[in-house]
């Protein structure tokens, strides 16, 4: 186990905040500092010949964002967009303007960093699909009987690109 070095260390070195959401019945979270905004008006414009993870473009107040289907990326079954579906938009620090489609948005949670168990990134023995998930899931922590899987927002686009190559 090794601790990952954060580019922007928090002022409270021990406490970290995560924006949580649900895919299927699984509970995921991304660093709140990577999140720009959460939107519920989802009007997606499709891109033809794009990878299957890329759902299309979305127009938010004149800015265009790429929307990635997190279900497809994490190898879940596909699901239609419904009234509880949300899109998380990330800041420009994370990468070029994009967001991810999730089933359900949760709350903002604050976790002591000691409670987080980070994953070993050694993935030589894994196949392609597992490698992808492995590079996305950087760790997990227990929350009131539920397991929160922490995803690295910066890896989403890389994973799609790597797969295309």
């Amino acid at each position: 186990m090794r601790r990952i070095d954060l580019k922007e260390p928090n002022h409270h070195s021990k406490q970290r905040q995560f924006c949580t959401f649900q895919i299927s019945r699984h509970f995921y979270g991304v660093d709140i500092l990577d999140v720009k905004e959460i939107i519920d008006e989802i009007a997606i414009t499709k891109i033809h010949h794009a990878p299957e993870e890329v759902l299309g473009f979305i127009n938010i107040r004149g800015h265009v964002y790429l929307v990635i289907d997190l279900r497809t990326l994490l190898s879940f079954d596909k699901k239609e967009i419904d009234e509880s579906s949300r899109v998380l938009l990330f800041t420009s620090d994370v990468g070029e303007a994009f967001g991810i489609l999730v089933d359900n948005i949760g709350h903002m949670v604050e976790v002591d960093e000691k409670k987080i168990e980070f994953r070993n990134q050694d993935d030589n023995q894994l196949d392609n699909s597992d490698k992808r998930i492995n590079s996305l899931e950087i760790g997990a922590c227990k929350l009131d009987g539920r397991l929160l899987v922490i995803l690295e927002a910066r890896k989403f686009l890389d994973v799609i690109k790597n797969k295309d190559e």
């Binding site: 002022h11 905040q17 924006c19 709140i32 500092l33 999140v35 720009k36 905004e37 959460i38 519920d40 949300r86 800041t91 948005i105 709350h107 903002m108």
Partner: protein
């Protein structure tokens, strides 16, 4: 030969026995005839040869005695001896004559005897003369008669020889005859033995032939045929060949006809078994149909039974009513006279009743009006309730809006908290505000959900209320109808009471006659009551009968099922029978 085979066995046995007896008779006759010839021979001997021989012996002995007597006479010189000699000489001559008279003497012997006889007679005279002279005159004798005596002695010797040879010849003949007889007897015995042997063998052979050809072999044929039929595969087409017309032939004929009949019967049985098989199949089907029909009948009869029970109840109640009526009529009859007395007061009572009825009619009218009002009110209540339902639904929609707003607020609060986090320490206060907003949003969501639940409850209760009001409306409607009918009845009663009051005076006059009529009516009603009771009991009986019909039909159903079972069994039996019958070759 053909005839021999066609006669009966008893006759055959009789023929065999008679053949044996005939053979026995034949041998007996043969033996008897042979013995007869021997006997004849022997009788010849005893009648002729033996007396002749004996005579010749006698002649020889007498002659010898004569000669001796002559010699004695000469020696002693007594004439008496000569006379005795003469007697002997006559004996000899008689014996010789007897021999001569015999038939069986040979001709040469006959001639010889004649010669002897002639010579002997001469000799007797000479000897008599000479010996008597010799006895009387012995001195002269020698000279004169010595020559004659010598001649006489010569003759005597000759005669003696002749007689001796004769007796010898005769005895030889006798011997010869006896030896002949012995020889012949021996040959006869051998012959008869050979003949007997031949006859016995031939009789045995013939009897055996007859018995074996005409009795044993047909019996054996018949037995082998019967065995073939009995042990074979039930081949009934086989027949015993009839060779003869005796008892066995008859037996075979009758057995053949028996087999023929058996074959016919088995053929008929086979045909009938096939028919039976088909029939039992049909029977089974019919039994099934019968069961269906019986089931229908049972349901029908159960229906009838139920109907009859209802009828019985009705009739019973009718009977009870009739009895009550009878009782009432009786009491009426009893009180009719009182009525007659009380008619005046009745008239006033009727008037009172009429007014009371009028009051009741008014009240009923009021009740009807009230009921109509209640119906109107209840329909209004229903409308109001429906409106309440609609309002509740609208409130439900409003809660939906509230829910959506709270969700939006929640999102807004989340975005605000993100912003606050990004702002770092500067956003701390803002983060608290955002948290509060979030709490508020979740509270509104809960409240909205609560309201939604309550609204659903209200809607359900409204629906219940509507249902209750509908029921009330129905009841009120029925009440209204009842009021209407009561009102009508009361109106009629008012009319009737009016009529009643009008006619009471007329009635008053006819009350006495009515009283008597009522007693008659009472008796009539009594009768009716009885009749109704009878009808009730009859109906009861009918009900019992129907129920027994019901049970009978159930039994029949059971029976039909049994019949079906039996038919199935019969089917099996018919199949078995068919199988058994098919074993026979017909």
């Amino acid at each position: 030969m053909k005839y021999l085979f066609n006669i009966s066995i008893t006759k055959k046995i009789w023929i065999s026995l008679s053949i044996i007896i005939a053979a026995y008779m034949f041998s007996m006759i043969l033996g008897t005839s042979l013995e007869k010839s021997t006997e004849l021979k022997l009788s010849d001997i005893s009648n002729d040869l033996l007396p002749i021989t004996l005579s010749s012996q006698t002649a020889l002995i007498r002659y010898t005695e004569q000669i001796r007597l002559y010699n004695d006479a000469i020696m002693l010189g007594e004439i008496s001896h000569i006379k005795a000699a003469y007697a002997c000489a006559s004996d000899v001559s008689n014996a010789l004559k007897t021999i001569l008279s015999s038939k069986c003497i040979r001709s040469d012997n006959q001639l010889k005897i004649k010669n002897i006889l002639t010579t002997y007679e001469q000799f007797i005279e000479d000897a008599n003369y000479i010996y008597s002279r010799m006895c009387e005159n012995t001195e002269n004798f020698e000279s004169e008669n010595s020559k004659k005596a010598a001649q006489l002695a010569k003759q005597t010797k000759f005669l003696k020889q002749e007689i001796q040879s004769l007796s010898h010849v005769l005895s030889e003949d006798l011997k010869q005859e006896f030896s002949d007889i012995i020889k012949r007897t021996q040959s006869n015995r051998e012959l008869s033995f050979v003949v007997f042997f031949i006859v016995v063998i031939s009789v045995i052979a013939l009897t055996h032939f007859i018995i074996s050809r005409s009795i044993s072999s047909p019996l054996k044929n018949t037995i082998s045929m019967l065995k073939d039929i009995a042990e074979g595969e039930g081949n009934l087409t086989a027949r015993i060949p009839i060779e003869n017309k005796d008892e066995i032939g008859e037996l075979s004929t009758w057995f053949n006809s028996f087999i023929q009949k058996l074959q016919d019967i088995i053929t008929k049985i086979a045909n009938n078994a096939t028919l039976l098989n088909a029939s039992s199949g049909q029977l089974s089907e019919y039994a099934k149909q019968m069961i269906d029909n019986m089931a229908q009948l049972t349901t029908k009869s159960a229906d009838v039974s139920y109907a009859t029970e209802v009828l019985t109840t009705n009739i019973n109640s009718m009977a009870i009513s009739a009895e009550e009526m009878s009782l009432n009529i009786n009491s009426i009859s009893v009180t009719a006279e009182d009525i007659a007395k009380n008619m005046n007061s009745a008239a006033s009572s009727v008037d009172k009743m009429s007014t009371s009825l009028n009051a009741i009619g008014k009240d009923i009218q009021d009740g009807q009006n009230i009921a109509t009002q209640a119906m109107d009110l209840s329909s209004e209540a229903t409308q109001n309730m429906n409106m309440l339902g609609t309002a509740a639904r609208e409130i439900g929609q409003v809660t939906g809006v509230i829910k959506r707003i709270s969700v939006q607020t929640n999102l807004l609060a989340l975005n605000a908290s993100i912003e606050a986090s990004t702002a770092g320490e500067a956003g701390r206060g803002f983060a608290v505000v955002a948290e509060k907003i979030k709490q508020f949003a979740s509270q509104s969501t809960r409240s909205a959900e609560d309201i939604a639940l309550k609204i659903t409850d209200v809607q359900q209760k409204t629906q219940n209320a509507i249902n209750v009001i509908e029921k009330v409306t129905n009841i009120v409607e029925k009440l209204n109808q009842s009021y209407a009918s009561i009102s009508q009845t009361i109106e009629k009663q008012i009319d009737i009471s009016y009529d009643l009051s009008l006619r009471i005076n007329e009635i008053n006059s006819g009350t006495n006659t009515i009283a008597s009529s009522i007693s008659q009516a009472a008796s009539g009603v009594n009768e009716m009551s009885k009749n109704t009771g009878g009808a009730a009991s009859t109906t009861n009986e009918f009900a019992n009968i129907i129920s027994s019909v019901n049970s009978a039909s159930e039994n029949s159903n059971q029976c039909a099922q049994n019949v079906q079972i039996q038919a199935t069994e019969l089917d099996v039996i018919a199949a078995t029978l068919n199988k058994i019958v098919n074993k026979f070759v017909v």
